[in-house]
Symmetry: C2
Amino acid sequence: MALSSVLATSCLPQTPQKQAVSVDLLITNSTIVTMDPNRCVIEAGQIAIRGDSIVALGPAPLLPKGTTAKQTIDAKGALVLPGFINGHTHAPMTLLRGLKDDVTLDVWLKNYIFPAEAKNVTEDFVRWGTRLAAAEMIRSGVTTFADMYYFEDALAEETKAAGMRGVLGESWLDFPVPDNKNEAEAAAYTAKFLKHWQGDPLIHAAVAPHSIYLCSQKTLHDAQALAQKYHAPILIHVAEIKKELDDSLAQNHATPVQYMDRIGFLGPDVIAAHCIWVDETDRKLLAEKGVGCVHNPSSNMMLASGVAPVVEERAAGVAVGLGTDGPAGSNNDLDLMEEMDLAAKLQKITKIDPRALGAQAVVEMATIEGAKAVHMEKEIGSLEPGKKADLILISLNEPNAVPMYDVYSQLAYTLKASDVQTVIIGGRAVMLDRKLLTLNEPEILAKAREYGKRVAASLVH
Amino acid sequence: MALSSVLATSCLPQTPQKQAVSVDLLITNSTIVTMDPNRCVIEAGQIAIRGDSIVALGPAPLLPKGTTAKQTIDAKGALVLPGFINGHTHAPMTLLRGLKDDVTLDVWLKNYIFPAEAKNVTEDFVRWGTRLAAAEMIRSGVTTFADMYYFEDALAEETKAAGMRGVLGESWLDFPVPDNKNEAEAAAYTAKFLKHWQGDPLIHAAVAPHSIYLCSQKTLHDAQALAQKYHAPILIHVAEIKKELDDSLAQNHATPVQYMDRIGFLGPDVIAAHCIWVDETDRKLLAEKGVGCVHNPSSNMMLASGVAPVVEERAAGVAVGLGTDGPAGSNNDLDLMEEMDLAAKLQKITKIDPRALGAQAVVEMATIEGAKAVHMEKEIGSLEPGKKADLILISLNEPNAVPMYDVYSQLAYTLKASDVQTVIIGGRAVMLDRKLLTLNEPEILAKAREYGKRVAASLVH
């Protein structure tokens, strides 16, 4: 009986360069966990980056003699892998982190979240909340995130300033929100937002109708039409809570997914957060229509929403990514590595089968499957020549990191956000040896504390 | 509606000193989360330590003018709380971290763990494994741990050298183990072990019959007799897997707990790991007999063992602590802060009720309830004058730590092992500003990697 270690996977160098070239960044001395279609793991590997893309990767020496690199990063034996994709969050809610936990969803929303948002959410709040979220996400190896909130244009500006990649959508709800009084305002805001960010290398502007229970059929259709006009993705919460299923069955005589299909809403532009209360027919529909799902195990456990049938969704051919959801009492952090660990453990215990969802599967969900779920698999999610240079270095130099028998096991179950050393997005280092390069951390911490006091005071009557 | 923030809890200074005295260590500028019977949280607090114990704590200024402190630690606004208690682990198995995951318990034990142990576990293995485990545990704020393994005397020596507090028991199984061929040898080893460590300030030597399914009734009685002779605690796995319950019902016509009660085994010296398959009668018995239970959510999820009825156990009056279990495919780390987070979330999702187990409850389980579970609540588990000075400083200076609306929420759901800055055990700093003071970390990492290669090679046929 041999260990099924994936440390020794041998892969041919990919598109080795024959002629001397110049590259902008060369990463050396790394164990490359490519997440490419063969799941190649390359030991003593190198990655060459030009502009915002990977031009070559493989075992050293990768580049022909005479090649020059403007910058070289010695990975010192670290794992290098595609940046994690946080497929569902509400970044500015980080300023409401743990505002109230351990209460029912209804009490939480009505007594705490909605009043806190009504009293405090401004463009300034969104900017500082996004900066705080970006700092935490970069520190935990997230390079791309999908977001639904308000003042999304300010959120996009801050995301770009932080050097992060974002799929960002202004939330539409059929009641007044901090920046829009009605659907017409939300539609006008979003049209301008989509136009403004078209062609941006980092920001994918999206349309984000909240859900079938907070958006009428007309709102959903308007959102869809706008998305189609601008070739933009659609972010939406789907089948998150049992009540959503029950109400849809009563009102639409169909599950949420089948209702959405009936009104022509499902398609390969849709990114569906949660997908908990979905039956076999729903899963087939999601796969057929190319809808991406995003699983949020922390949030689903914290709010007791239910357990998504992740194993069955994957088996049906649905791309399932991972998300943290917002940190205001439904997580309460933005740590995607914890979501990997939880996703596996939650399926195991729910199915009373330790084989249900394994280490490699959850690393896929955080990377290449996450990229598919947000419909960006041509750009990101794996380390391959031609793809964006979104990659992270994870140190193996802490007591919790040794020994290592299997690289996926280590990533899923033992390595922590704090082991992420360096983060590169589109060829640009945004964190180097745990130092953030695009964000003023002391200022962000001070502002977050200040907002914390202000929000707490606003809820005392 | 006001936030039920516990930041503002006001407490009287506890046993303020009236006369000038000299203290060995003074911790200043801290938010003290005492976990005392009133759950006092003291802002801008100070803690005075003499020898291995706390002599006073309270709001600054704590000590009368003229008091001198040999050493002062400025906590810089950090949270200070009792060190975490890891109520169940197998520390040297850290060298088998993630040896094999995602397989059934049977395959895992028979094909991987038992062969790996038979081929590799020596006294040297135990020493290096304990050092590695101690490094990881100290880094995550654990100051006391309960352990069941082999060569436990060497384990105790290394625990003491690391400056940690341990409840350590040599495992008894009714088959040959790496250091004992049979029960007679295990009994002789343990008698010597108990005698050797009597009265030690850090090491509580224990007796550790594995479980009712790997120990005969005679073995259990012999272990109990030895424990009683030396006033030692008894560590044992109880009702961990469904098969244990089913087999006990078939063979003993009683649940594991009721069988143990019938043979007179249960008492206030027993520390029962897991307690998953326990019914209402079992829970009453555990409470009545003063048995402590240790909940291991990561392990129980990873191995799909089942979900312990923690809420019902606590309601019945059972002291329930938290444990990591061993990290060889059943966790795979020694991070008790993750167990807090998981314990709460697992109860919520299982009961489909976000109120099921809250933040304060799981912080209790990691501290004062954990101390009760290992029968050491007079010494440790809370910060009170007269108790051992086992305490940790947790920084609030990272993006994941701000803002803070509720100190228990922050501890349970957002703060990480990497936020633990300083660890003091029995008045002695074992980690200061993330630097380990009692362990040679580079040497430990190198040895762990070496053992990793050796173990992997031993399993290739």
